[in-house]
């Protein structure tokens, strides 16, 4: 394989070792590598508790994995359980990225998730050491000195190599650094037979590969490109590129999806059977999504509602739920959007128990003023519109719970309880 014409850069993929658990350890002056700590979300809809993160020692001693349930957690006195504080983790993530930007230009630092970032070090790594490895060490030390957290670094000549180096090697390395190059790729990656461990290969793809006789990365790299494409479609060519460590993505060219949408979903704390209660929650979600959309000065031309049934209902019904969309006259009014949502709900719902609700708004367009409806009283329309703006202002200034519909106080409403959550989990004490 001739790699001469492939892009040769220096990319770092950095993640934080057991991020949430480490942040909580440091806040308690514990060593994040030695403490036995578990971050558990005890929001009402998690059925007693969901494990969001476990420290390396907790994983080692008790075999805890993320997203295990409370019932899998041993009741051992060595174990310390703490509630999540999402706002604190966001703050720490920003601090970490701030340290990274001492090593790269702002535009070469790409936050990938709450605890992962991709850095394009191509232009700047020489300023900080003789080898990329040395620079990685220096960055780890900088983060540890300033925040007490340990980071793991994958180094590659392109983003996919960096990601694979991180997942497959850095996480098991004593220095928490892994390196991949075009040259070392065959020797390090091809022997892998556990295909799911390779980033972007999921269970279904792995099973599919096994079915067609591909049991290792070596076999994948040496399979016939035309047959791969025939069997897997465009993904087949991507898989082949992956097996050779090839990645043409240019991070600086951001992708903009064609049809952006705003949405929100929630898992309910119990099965909902009463129509009024379900509709209350649908309206709450609808209002919240509409408000987010209005903050981006947009209006919607299509509303979608997804309803997931409870286990019992799904069993008797055979369906796991339903989803419907409808085109509407563009609007940003929560009342109108909610009317459509309730209509969609009533049209299909037949008394099933409900556990999941998701709402989304798409076909977005810029909101450049109010389009009056010829057949309705113009004064009423303008007044309605003004009222929405005033409500938005009040919510911006005093918080979303400053003024709420009375229905949010009814039995079954979830908005007040969820208002302090971040990403569905406890944000932390309100003024820490």
């Amino acid at each position: 394989m001739n790699y001469d014409r492939e892009p040769h850069g220096v990319y770092f993929m950095i993640d934080n070792k057991s991020f949430y658990a480490s942040v909580e350890s440091v806040a308690r002056e514990d060593d994040p590598l030695e403490s036995v700590i578990v971050v558990m979300s005890e929001a009402k809809n998690t059925n007693g508790g969901l494990i969001l993160a476990a420290s390396p020692k907790a994983k080692e001693l008790f075999g805890i994995t993320n997203v295990s349930r409370c019932r899998d957690l041993p009741d051992d006195s060595r174990l310390k359980v703490v509630p999540p504080r999402m706002n604190l983790y966001i703050k720490k993530n920003l601090q970490i990225n701030e340290i990274f930007t001492q090593f790269v230009a702002d535009e070469d630092c790409y936050p990938y998730s709450i605890d992962e970032s991709i850095l394009d070090m191509t232009k700047s790594w020489r300023l900080f050491g003789r080898t990329p490895l040395e620079v990685a060490h220096r960055m780890q030390t900088a983060v540890h000195d300033k925040l007490g957290l340990w980071t793991t670094v994958g180094i590659g000549e392109n983003p996919v190599q960096a990601k694979l180096a991180l997942d497959l090697f850095a996480k098991h390395d004593n220095d928490r650094i892994g390196e991949l190059t075009y040259e070392t790729f065959p020797q390090k990656i091809w022997p892998i037979t556990n295909l799911v461990s390779v980033w972007s290969i999921g269970h279904r793809t792995a099973a599919h590969l096994e079915r067609v006789g591909i049991h290792s990365m070596d076999a994948l790299a040496h399979s016939n490109p035309y047959e791969l494409k025939k069997e897997f479609g465009i993904i087949g060519t991507q898989l082949l590129a992956l097996a050779w460590g090839i990645d043409h993505s240019q991070l600086s060219k951001l992708l903009t999806p064609n049809d952006k949408r705003w949405g929100n979903s929630q898992v309910l704390a119990r099965d909902y059977l009463v129509q009024r209660e379900i509709e209350t929650v649908i309206k709450e979600i609808g209002s919240q999504v509409a408000s987010r959309m209005r903050h981006h000065q947009q209006q919607t031309g299509c509303v979608s509602l997804m309803i997931g049934f409870s286990y019992a209902s799904a069993e008797t019904d055979g369906r796991s739920g339903f989803a419907h969309s409808m085109r509407i006259d563009t609007t940003d009014s929560p009342d109108q959007i909610n009317q459509y949502l309730v209509y969609l709900f009533r049209k299909t719902w037949d008394g099933e128990g409900i556990r999941n609700i998701a709402v989304s708004l798409s076909h977005l367009s810029a909101n450049d003023g109010l389009q009056l409806d010829l057949f309705k009283d113009p004064h009423a329309q303008i007044k309605q519109n003004l009222m929405i703006r005033v409500l938005d202002k009040i919510h911006d200034q005093f918080g979303n719970t400053a003024l709420i519909p009375a229905s949010s106080l009814l039995h079954g409403a979830t908005m007040l309880e969820r208002s302090s959550l971040v990403g569905g989990h406890n944000g932390g004490n309100s003024f820490d």
Binding site: A27, E29, S77, L79, K80, K146, G148, D432
Partner: protein, 110 residues
């Protein structure tokens, strides 16, 4: 970025801590309750936690408050105010050899 200065008197801080403490300080038998006060040298802040340790069961550690004012004299006033209102054992971590500015005793000794 602008710096937001939250002015909180030591009495207000103590009140917030006590309110949150009462919620989980259930005084169950065979359970150790402690207030953990940590000097966070990274964030330059003092973190307060309630540690609940039921005998032979896993332990819980609940965040109570964070003092952004890194002044030891301020912390001493908060702790003094707390001690007037609760008997809970306080454990200090991360203070090394530091001494209370008023009382002139070693902080880590409690």
């Amino acid at each position: 970025m602008g710096v937001i200065v939250l002015i909180e008197t030591y009495d207000q801080a103590a009140k917030v801590i006590l309110e949150r403490l009462e919620k989980d300080f259930l005084r169950q038998s065979r359970t150790i309750y402690q207030m953990l006060i940590v000097r966070d040298r990274f964030d330059e802040a003092y973190n307060f936690f309630l540690e609940v340790k039921p005998k032979n069961h896993r332990e819980k550690s609940i965040p109570l408050h964070t003092l952004e004012n890194y002044d030891l004299g301020y912390l001493e006033s908060v702790v003094h105010s707390l001690r007037k209102q609760t008997q809970i054992t306080m454990q200090f971590k991360g203070f090394g050899e530091l001494v209370w500015p008023q009382a002139q005793t070693r902080i880590s000794k409690g």
